[in-house]
């Protein structure tokens, strides 16, 4: 069977990679959210310990490279697919009623993905870059362990109104991306079943609302208290 091009190059293969990296990034969102919830209780010790653990524990370090690779693959693959899709209709319609048959977020995944990527670059610069390569003041916990004080940096960042509001807007974009993306990944992988697909869709909508809402509540909480 010489025609098989395996899992690279074909339209379907590119979609599988989009779906798999997308779902992996969803699992990252959950872990990232749980680790950041101490910010809502003002627990400096728990947050700094979490940040220390995430930057030093070997298994997490290994998974973090998989995460960077997934972000890159999801972004580049998405860009290639979007370009191919635009090329597939070189002359557009004079009148196109997209709202008649598909919801807005499903028609704007590339735009929403780009917004999320831009947010991610700024977000990584503010915290990830500072934690790894920049200057973060030291902090000692009750038992005398030395940590980097990411907590103070984070709280200071979110006390700036424009920065906190930027996060809220970005989370709205992420929520819309997930609104379509979550269940879409299952459809792409062919994981469709009359009994389970409605549950996956409901789970996807719940995920798209709850995760960005909880993330957005962190800068809002810090800004308002």
């Amino acid at each position: 069977m010489s025609t098989s091009r395996g899992l690279f190059g074909t339209s379907l293969a590119r979609k599988y990679w989009m779906a798999l990296t997308g779902l992996f990034l969803c699992s990252f969102l959950v872990v990232h959210l749980l680790g950041n919830l101490p910010l809502l209780t003002g627990n400096q010790e728990a947050f700094n310990a979490y940040a220390h653990f995430m930057t030093t524990f070997p298994l997490i370090k290994a998974v973090s490279y998989l995460l960077y690779a997934s972000i890159l693959l999801h972004s580049i693959d998405g860009l290639v697919l979007a370009r191919q899709n635009m090329a597939a209709r070189p002359a557009g319609y004079v009148k196109y009623n997209g709202a008649a048959n598909a919801n807005w977020s499903s028609r704007n995944m590339a735009l929403l993905g780009t917004i999320t990527l831009l947010f991610l670059i700024i977000h990584l610069k503010s915290f990830w870059f500072e934690m790894h390569f920049g200057f973060v003041p030291n902090w000692t916990d009750a038992e005398g362990n030395l940590y980097k004080d990411l907590y103070t940096i984070t709280v200071a960042a979110f006390q700036q109104t424009w920065y906190a509001l930027f996060y809220v807007v970005a989370m709205l974009g992420l929520g819309l991306h997930l609104w379509h993306g979550f269940a879409s990944a299952f459809q792409t992988m062919g994981w469709s079943h009359p009994r389970y697909t409605p549950m996956i869709k409901a789970l996807g909508y719940g995920f798209a609302i709850m995760v960005p809402l909880l993330f957005a509540s962190i800068p809002l909480y810090i800004l308002l208290t």
């Binding site: 069977m1 899992l7 339209s11 379907l12 899709n85 009623n97 997209g98 048959n101 992988m189 469709s192």
Partner: protein, 249 residues
């Protein structure tokens, strides 16, 4: 009824094309959309203007020939209908109606509203068939037992008339609904399962070669499909293609 029609006019594949505005009156609300175009063309011939070229054949919603992108939707605003089954009573007297050809790189415009959909034929030629000898001692059709739900799903997929509304509607001009329906109608039946692996590979490869876009799972295709083909077929094709890609040598 009276209508103002904005119609795409294009002299040939190389022509740039433009919208032209025409007025039609004496349209009955019982006319089909194609009959309304017939009235327009009659009028244009009397005015010594080239009539509008459009595809049509059976005019009873089964051949898949009529196309047209009407007011921003494939086959117009109706659901589960082709353009020949769309009646003028769906519109209001005095409406302005925008009429364009199906647009996709893989569906080049021949003239005006007529497009070349032979890319679909080439996808079928790549594997949309069962290569069995049809002469000689064939087993009785009823001797092969097929689960009712499989037979029904295969039949539903086979009702695809290959009109191209899915491609025209898709924001990416993707042919996934068509290709997956043709893959599914065979994959669900024992006669088709023998060649199922080669079929899905060949048909997807041909679909890519034709320059169709990729599927974003918007679901617009199944909404606009005159035969109500479900995107469950796309999931089935994705599943088949994935397992074949992982297991072939």
């Amino acid at each position: 009824m009276k209508f103002t029609l904005n119609v795409w006019r294009q002299n040939g594949p190389q022509d740039k094309g433009r919208m032209e505005t025409y007025q039609v009156d004496q349209v009955s609300d019982d006319m089909s959309f194609l009959e309304m175009i017939d009235v327009l063309n009659e009028q244009l011939i009397h005015q010594n203007i080239d009539p509008v070229v459009f595809d049509h054949d059976c005019r009873e919603g089964i051949c898949g020939m009529c196309s047209m992108f009407i007011n921003g939707e494939a086959h117009g605003p109706g659901r589960g209908v082709t353009t020949c089954q769309l009646h003028m009573r769906e519109f209001s007297d005095g409406d302005t109606i925008t009429i364009e050809p199906f647009r996709a790189k893989a569906f080049p415009i021949i003239k005006d509203l007529m497009v070349d959909r032979s890319a679909f034929d080439r996808i079928i030629q790549a594997g949309g068939f069962v290569s069995v000898n049809t002469s000689g001692n064939l087993p009785d059709a009823n001797a092969t037992r097929i689960e009712k739900s499989h037979a029904d799903a295969a039949f539903d997929a086979a009702t695809c008339i290959g009109c191209g509304a899915c491609v025209a509607t898709c924001k990416n001009a993707s042919a996934m609904l068509f290709t997956s329906a043709k893959v599914s109608q065979f994959a669900l039946l024992p006669q088709g399962q023998v060649e199922a692996s080669e079929r899905v590979l060949h048909m997807v490869n041909q679909m890519d070669l034709e320059g169709f876009g990729n599927c974003t799972n918007t679901g617009a295709c199944e909404v606009e499909c005159p035969k109500g083909i479900s995107i469950e077929n796309i999931a089935r094709m994705n599943r088949e293609y994935l397992s074949v890609s992982l297991t072939t040598k």
